[in-house]
Symmetry: C2
Subunit: 493 residues, 2 copies
């Protein structure tokens, strides 16, 4: 650890001397040190303490970092019309629409990003990834009662089985959660029925299982199809798609309102159980896609790599503006800002990786890991943005290399960003995102956090995931912060 | 005025003596008087002041009013599972769905409400109204650019002309507001184009003109179809329908996100203007519908009528839960509460009127006025609920009979409701709703207000206007307050 930190700091100071003219602000460093003391952040690993404090002072007074922070967040750094990342994402999504795995929209979008990176003067290359895809065809769900018939707001789930061409029509049996499902199943009540699972929303990670594993569970009890209340805290009659484990029966999500209508009718003793007619067509196949890598090669330690990533594929109904347009674009834009605004050449190598086919099973991320885990150039830090770009909160970090000293170093960076007024900055320990999770075995891994609770899941996997859901200032802020992190992050080892 | 107030108060006190055993709370009356003084509510019409103060004291200490307030809002009056109005509205809308003019859903819903009123022991009758209807057929809008093609989220506007059967395809010309539309038109730029009007949202009353009058304006300049950014402050890819003046060209609303995509592509010089393919079928006709009247006949002054109303028809995509399910149900439920909870017989006549075919041009409301303006029984007060039931704010009042003394009396009721803790209560002057507006010439007219700004217009005329958008407690509160008002309101004349 100590050896790497010293190397890093020497490199940072060298870059600072070579690339920028701004002198370290000693008063800022003193103020920062004071901040640390008054906030009582624990110094870990006693014995190394005084050496680490010296490093901290040097980090926060590094001319390069200071210059980057001032350029991207300092007074006059940003004017209100500065929304380049948003404009580029808008042009891309307006031009090619959604980017589901196996679609022309995805491959054309990759081409567009490659061209953009070339125009911006980057080294850029793609790496082919064979992917499985699921392509939505005609689909509909219709509520049929004794008194009226109406189309339901539905979305087939990814990798769902299709219905027979003419569809399925059956009585609906509504259960609240999996325990009720299994009880009804064991009592033989689900045979020949379309099962609908409703549940009380708590959070995404709790609800997710109903989308991903419910169809197999219902199939086991003889159900002919599986419906789930959309995985969302909020609905404007909005169905939310997403991946599911393929079962022998078709699986679809209903908008919350539609699930609730079925549940109410089902609960009324004096009327017949509701029926649903489900028609779902889809196609699965294998095609070739690409991970896209935009690189700034390190001047001093090219084999030490900091990766920032997001996935370029999306679901098919909106344009994937938040999921994960904001992710891949903020990763790319971080490098753009370093090259064109901060105008710095990093000592270590920076990579923006635009993973493909995440929505269809983290195919791009897993392929990237498999292809590069044994490279001579080692990924030291792997960060991703894949929960949208909203009010920024900072980073969730994880990984075997996140030892006490590394953690303390991240806290140091956090304090520095907070001090210069970067919005909502903090560091927490937690789960790294899907596309970088495998790197946690070898590196510090992590993901970008928002400070808006479940807000993101209103838009997640819906037709409403459009550019209007993205705030240009949020996107610019996150890309700017990623730029500083990519430059400043220590190589924990 | 004075004569009527005295009559009213005598009647109220008589009812109080006849129907309830609760004694006036003198301490409450004193506290109330104190409230009035400390809040400096202006006493108008000097000279009558001391007499009116005596009346106010009697009103707020009236045993009937006190009993009603305590029964509906007092300690223990409401338990959390008390959501009868919501449950009934849910059962109605779950059973018959939306209620557009000319639909079976509307007529069956009217039948259901008539049966409900009979079961509840009310005098109920319907009055036939011949109505014009517009029935949506197959419709779609498709964006076609050089690079992708995608369905747009759209809704044809009520009474729009249909397209030819095979649809219309043309280049889109985007304008920001009517001034730009007329400039572009005068310059010959709209000929043969599909015009899209976008605009910055300020409020419903400002934006409404773009929906209602835009098609005729665009037609004048040779446009072949008219599109409008949906009239809403908020969108989850949500199109908002609504009525429009029939033009020779078809007219439809796009979801905000879809309007914005078109506007951005249109603004880019380096790509071709976007094209839209519009297919809209619809049918207009004449059918018979009904206004529904539920009545509690006055024991003392049956010819003095207080009307509370809402319209029972709705738009076709959601179930009209807020617009205007909450309106007609809270009007009906106000009478239900008086009869079954408060158990009072009013001195004057109370009518809940469920107007038909408001969305298609206030047809039920206007017919009701025409049929009853010369009746021997006079409508003295006409209130409606037609902006949804959300966080309550009180009443907007208007009308030629709203003179100084009447206004002061309403303020007195307002203060009384506020004192007993009725949520968000106040009285303002302003526009009465569409179905009761004509009564303003003869009576005090008014409408229910919410304290949530534009929130209601998120749901207005959309597929998301479902029961999930209605809070059971809000609905119960509004109905309870209407019940007290229907009982307490002075007959200003």
């Amino acid at each position: 650890m100590t050896r790497y930190l010293v190397l890093l700091l020497v490199a940072l100071l060298a870059i600072g001397a070579a690339n920028v003219s701004a002198s370290p602000t000693h008063s800022r460093a003193r103020k920062h040190q004071q901040y640390r003391h008054t906030n009582g952040v624990q110094a870990v690993m006693a014995g190394h303490e005084s050496a680490r404090w010296a490093q901290h002072r040097r980090l926060s007074s590094s001319a390069t970092i200071h210059h980057a922070v001032q350029t991207l967040f300092g007074p006059g750094a940003r004017n209100t019309t500065d929304k380049l990342a948003w404009d580029r994402l808008a042009e891309l999504t307006d031009t090619y629409g959604p980017r589901p795995g196996g679609s022309q929209g995805l491959e054309k979008s990759i081409d567009w990003m490659v061209e953009l990176a070339k125009k911006d003067g980057f080294d850029v290359y793609t790496e082919e990834v064979p992917i499985k895809y699921w392509r939505r065809g005609v689909e509909s769900a219709t509520l049929i009662t004794d008194t009226w018939t109406t189309p339901l707001h539905m979305d087939g789930l990814g990798f769902s089985a299709p219905t027979p061409k003419d569809g399925i029509e059956a009585e609906v049996f509504v259960v609240n959660g999996f325990d009720e499902l299994d009880q009804a199943g064991a009592a033989g009540k689900l045979k020949g029925k379309i099962v609908l699972v409703v549940y009380e929303w708590t959070k995404y990670s709790e609800a997710l299982k109903y989308r991903t594993t419910g169809a197999k569970r219902a199939e086991k009890w003889g159900a002919v199809a599986y419906l789930v209340r959309s995985v969302t805290p909020f609905s404007m009659r909005t169905p939310h798609t997403g991946n599911s484990q393929t079962a022998g029966i078709p699986a679809a999500a209903l908008a919350v309102e539609d699930a609730n209508i079925l549940a109410r009718i089902f609960a009324r003793d004096h009327v017949a159980a509701p029926r649903v007619r489900l028609v779902m067509q889809s196609e699965t196949g294998v095609s070739m896609s690409r991970n896209t890598v935009v690189e700034m090669r390190g001047t001093e330690r090219p084999n030490d790599v900091v990766l920032v990533g997001g996935h370029i594929d999306s679901w098919d109904k909106g344009v994937g503006a938040q999921d994960d347009g904001t992710g891949f674009m903020s990763a790319y834009h971080a490098l753009y800002l370093l090259k064109h605004r901060v105008q710095v050449q990093p000592a270590h190598t920076l990579r923006a990786v635009l993973f493909t086919a995440e929505e269809t099973g983290v195919q791009g991320g897993d392929a990237y890991y498999a292809a590069h885990v044994n490279d001579e150039a080692k990924i030291r830090v792997a960060l991703e943005v894949d929960e949208g770009v909203l009010t920024p909160r900072g980073l969730v970090l994880d990984g075997t290399k996140l030892d006490g000293a590394a953690w303390d170093m991240y806290q140091e960076i956090s304090a520095m960003l907070k001090e210069v007024g970067v919005r909502g900055w903090r560091v927490e320990r937690g789960y790294a995102g899907a596309d970088v999770a495998k790197w946690c075995k070898h590196a510090v891994c992590g993901q970008w956090m928002n400070d808006t609770g479940d807000y993101y899941f209103r838009y997640h996997h819906t037709p409403a995931d459009m550019m209007d859901a993205v705030d240009p200032v949020d996107l610019e802020d996150v890309a700017s912060t990623l730029a500083i992190l990519a430059l400043a992050l220590p190589h924990a080892e």
